[in-house]
């Protein structure tokens, strides 16, 4: 589903953010991406939704090389990739419903279908009663669930999350994690970049550790307690 081949990326001439990265993530996999600050986690994710193009190497999504994708094609890539962030990126002057509906409006869905689908996913996220509120009246966890609803409402092939639980307490973290897992069960490939040790340990998923732009360690699905060594 996702393949990186000899990918290097530098924002400035001399400082490289990613250095010769090779990574293969299969369809339906759930992968954590971790590493110290500045390791290149965000950079790697941005390559995957076409916000950046690599300086060298190839990025393949679903068998298609997106490393030299013309700007006009990027929207079509993003329609099959959901993205969430630590700061949610919700529109403050629109309701929860409208925030989630954007994804389907872009796809050209009709009003009635949008209504059904959005309420359905809000119910899955457990926030259907808040559909008419604006984001500033929601808790952090609820806001992240709105962002997740927006990312997942069109059943994307891939879900990317950058530090999705950074601002949340444990109860909310667990809720968000179970939403990731549910999406994964339904067939979405999930890539989560995080610092959060506990989140990683709890979920027993494949782990990729980055440091200074290089993959320094990989761990297949950790059994409970096995990856303490990290």
């Amino acid at each position: 589903m996702i393949q990186l081949h000899n990918v290097s990326m530098a924002y400035q001439q001399d400082a490289s953010a990613l250095n010769n990265v090779n990574l293969k993530i299969g369809k339906g996999e759930f992968v954590f991406l971790t590493g110290p600050s500045g390791a290149g986690k965000t950079t790697l994710l941005r390559l995957l939704y076409g916000a950046l193009a690599p300086n060298r190497g190839q990025v393949l999504i679903d068998g298609q090389n997106i490393s030299r994708l013309p700007a006009s094609q990027i929207p079509y890539l993003r329609r099959s990739v959901g993205v969430v962030f630590q700061d949610f990126k919700l529109l403050q002057n629109r309701t929860v419903f409208e925030n989630v509906a954007i994804t389907l409006e872009v796809l050209g869905w009709g009003k009635a279908d949008i209504g059904k689908k959005v309420m359905h996913i809000l119910k899955q996220m457990g926030i259907e009663s808040k559909y008419s509120l604006t984001p500033q009246r929601l808790s952090g966890g609820e806001q992240q669930r709105v962002a997740l609803a927006r990312a997942l409402v069109n059943d994307p092939k891939i879900l990317l999350a950058d530090e999705p639980t950074g601002n949340l307490d444990d109860a909310n973290k667990n809720q968000i994690l179970s939403i990731f897992k549910e999406a994964n069960v339904r067939g979405t490939t999930v890539v989560v970049a995080t610092h959060d040790r506990r989140l990683i340990e709890q979920s027993h998923k494949r782990l990729v550790v980055l440091n200074k732009g290089e993959i320094v360690e990989q761990m297949e699905k950790g059994k409970n307690g096995d990856d303490q060594a990290l």
């Binding site: 090389n65 013309p70 700007a71 990027i74 993003r78 099959s80 993205v83 994804t103 796809l107 050209g108």
Partner: protein, 322 residues
Amino acid sequence: MNRWKKEKTATIKPYKRPTLSGDGFGGRFGYFVARAITNIRQNIFVNVVTVGTITIALLIVSLFLLVFINLEGAVENWSERVQVTVYFDKELTTSEQSVFRDKILALPGALRVGYVSRDEALKRFKNRLRGQETLLEGVRSDVLPSSFEIALKRASRETESVETFVSALKRIPGITEVQYGEEWVRRFNSFLSFVRLMGVLVGGFLVIAVLFIVSNTIKLTIYARRDELEVMALVGATRFFIKAPFLLEGLLQGLAGSTISIALLFGLYEGFLHNADSFLTFNPVTSGLGFLPLEYIVGIFVSGAVLGFVGSFTSLRRFINV
């Protein structure tokens, strides 16, 4: 290795789109209009600022136009006084009059010709010296010349055309003495060009200032909503899809701004018309003070729409680099 090399094609086919009830350009257009209207409602402050700026900008420019057009009209009316006079030292017979009249009117630029007989000239002279008639005692009409007074067509009232006309006039046999207030014509014409030059300079300066202010306001309002652009791009909206509602919004803002500014201008004009005679020495109602001609009003509408649309268009280009 080879497997990777093969994947050079950099195109992604549009992913499948379920249920497309609002699809096609018609459906999309409906969506864009609805989106633009919702956006205006949800960003009411930003819209008030933009419409207000466009209104004030257009009001300043149209107020200037109104003043300028009336001023230029007034100045041009003075050019009625550009007149060429041909003097004769004898009274002309009726047949002589009509011969000269025909010859003068045949010259390019001549508008009207009026014969002033010696008696008529004396009458005018007396009128001018009213109260001091004693000065004219014993003066008989035959000391005064008879004359033709020639009014010129509007296009022929400039210094050079007047000179050309006069030299053509002098080539008519029997015409020797011609006067046309050379100095006055020259001064009048340079004043008129000065008024026009000032108009173009001040007007041009105003337009540039206004363009600068409006484009910066629009840029700021779009900057304030860059998260909207970012989110749209994130969920896979094409550039056109992101821009279209903003462009429509800009168009509507421009039309609203021009409508309000024309309404305000008309209010100012009416108010001036009905209250000005108390502090002016003339009555503006009877002095032919006019409102902007229709084509100028249409022009203001069009400029408003263009201002809103192009302002949004160029500002969006700075923020949408996806």
